[in-house]
Point group: C2
Chain length 378, copies 2
């Protein structure tokens, strides 16, 4: 039965979901100046040509209290740091190097100034580590703490590394290893303690908290691995340097790239859909961080599943032609980059499967379709 027009008009965002919403928004905008706007909305970041071969990268990401972080499970410094990371990772994922950020901060009037100081310390710390300048911002009153950052960068290589460049036959690779971010969050969910009674006391406690203070909440028998996961969840560092190295490999550069922000399974699908290809990924090749495995064992959950669903990992996920792989890996290893792992391959559109389908092959050889298991906003 088709819904009546009036019923459709009353549809809520929760019914069309995050990706449906994004599609709907994108359909409303067409780039007018196609000579300048090399990459518009829909990828990790936009790319704009600005005279004399300079290509700018521009992106934005917003963290909202209650959605991206909870006062009880975080601290201001970590929130500031992560707001920068989320943006810089998008700059990196296009093959860009950072230039700077602007920050819009929404805060309640009853927030302790110490919280604001520490939040900006986190922002400043992230800029020192990842590169880029603090260029400006806006501070407004808001019931819930909201940190919206926009970052600009410049393209490091000859061309932007898009999601839509994957070709049948390409190898699928990921930097580093996965799983810690989700395990860190899970530890907080299990052990972070109860909610503060009043918002005032929750905000005071949040303002006074430091990253190390949260360590004490992890059971002692898993504290080493647990703290590694907690740090990854709270103050993740994107692969700024590796992204620039990858972008500068000329003909050996990735055919497609994005950052692991929603979770590997969701992000693999993004590349597959954007490139109109299929993918086959081997479960036992997905690199799991030892600390993630340690915490997963302690909590009795599957580390392999965590590696697939863990968002905010900020590793780089890319595809590369098989004939280029060896040279690329050698160059990256020589430059002392993070280890690269081939986790699968790009397939053509398989008969009977929609383009964008990602198959997961288990250790026993069993195939299943990888469903979207990453973080969803709506």
């Amino acid at each position: 039965m088709k819904p009546k027009p009036s019923a459709r008009k009353n549809d809520l965002v929760s019914r069309i979901g995050e990706f449906g919403l994004i599609e709907r928004i994108l359909s409303k905008f067409a780039i007018r100046d196609k000579r300048s706007v090399l990459v518009g909305p829909g990828d990790d970041a936009a790319v704009i040509a600005c005279g004399e071969g300079l290509r700018l990268v521009l992106t934005t990401d917003m963290l909202v209290e209650g959605t991206h972080f909870r006062l009880e499970w975080s601290c201001p410094e970590a929130v500031g740091f992560k707001a920068v990371t989320a943006n810089m990772s998008d700059v990196a994922a296009m093959g860009g190097a950072p230039v700077g950020i602007v920050v819009s901060l929404g805060i309640p009037a009853s927030i302790p100034t110490r919280a604001v100081d520490m939040l900006y310390r986190g922002i400043s710390g992230a800029l020192s580590k990842l590169g880029g300048e603090m260029l400006g911002g806006d501070t407004v009153r808001s019931e819930r703490i909201t940190v919206s950052v926009a970052a600009i960068g410049t393209l490091a290589g000859e061309r932007p590394l898009l999601r839509r460049g994957a070709r049948a036959g390409d190898e699928v690779c990921v930097t580093g290893s996965l799983g810690r971010a989700e395990m860190g969050l899970l530890l907080l969910e299990r052990f972070a303690g109860r909610k503060d009674k009043s918002r005032g006391s929750a905000m005071r406690a949040w303002a006074a908290r430091r990253i190390t203070d949260l360590k004490g909440r992890i059971p002692s028998s898993v504290r080493g691995d647990g703290y590694a996961c907690l740090r990854k969840h709270l103050i993740p560092e994107p692969r700024m340097r590796d992204a620039v190295l990858l972008a500068r490999q000329g003909k050996n550069a990735p055919s497609a790239m994005m950052d692991v922000s929603d979770g590997l399974s969701s992000d693999l699908r993004q590349i597959a859909v954007a490139s109109a290809v299929g993918m086959r990924v081997y479960e036992d090749r997905i690199p799991i961080h030892p600390s993630a495995a340690g915490v997963a064992g302690y909590l009795g959950v599957s580390a392999a599943r965590a590696a697939l669903s863990s968002g905010e990992e900020y590793e780089l996920l890319f595809t590369v032609a098989p004939s280029r792989l060896r040279d690329l890996m050698r160059a990256m290893s020589r430059a002392d980059a993070a280890p690269l792992t081939v986790i699968g391959e790009v397939t053509g559109s398989v008969a009977g499967l929609r383009p964008g389908t990602v198959s997961l092959v288990s250790a026993g050889g069993r195939r299943s379709e990888l469903t979207h298991r990453g973080f969803r906003h709506f």
Copy 2:
């Protein structure tokens, strides 16, 4: 009595105020690459040198439900439009021309999709009118509707038009006329009707509302002027073209410039403080929009006061050397720009007065210090 350190630590943002907070934030960041970052935080927008004489302008502004707009008094299209205006006005105030925007949107899952459609229609409409492309964004779940925009542009003239360039003897000028934005808001406050009972029904009503629907709430005897004020409050248009014209006047270009966003009296002070000068402004020279005067008369409030305190006017406030004024005015008038009004002059630091002091001279010749009467966030 000096506060104890522990007491200071527990200070709330509401105690130091918006400008205190901004000062505190700025003190934590130093620009590292001074060759590239021509203007850092603290002005309307940042300016970055990007090779070959290209200078980029970057800014951000966030609108939050409950702070900048209320569901009962607005509609999604207006919120989208104004979020773009606030940013583009900052680009213009530096003497920049728009390139594009990125948008971070925070919305509850229970929002009707129609509201999101209309909000983006407002954004799209603003870009069509003001220039610039939709380059990307982020959509996240948030209890309160939050629209954070970052805009980039390029500098149109030889140098950025800063707040700190005013010199003793300069004339103080403003484009267009003032007062409508505050009168529009006041009309809504008086006549917009009661709050919806549930958030769900408030959101549905907001989603269905159009700019013209709010017209019916204005008493019929003042509806013409009232709707002019309402439109200025809901969908204000910054002086994009005039800003570029002003910036391109070479040696006749303004010595300092900013946009009227917090209210004339607050913004005059911003220029005076940044330039370490005093100012004298003549009350009867401040241009009041006839519709603002009409509504003020109807409501029984002072139109002159409204012209001083009305924020979100997005007119251009600037200073210019007296020897350059005539040529500048002639050039602007020839280019069919908005009328310019000289409202006062820049004075040196007057003995006994702090730098940054703005004196208001009444029609009767009485002097008073203009206090900060614009919109304050904390």
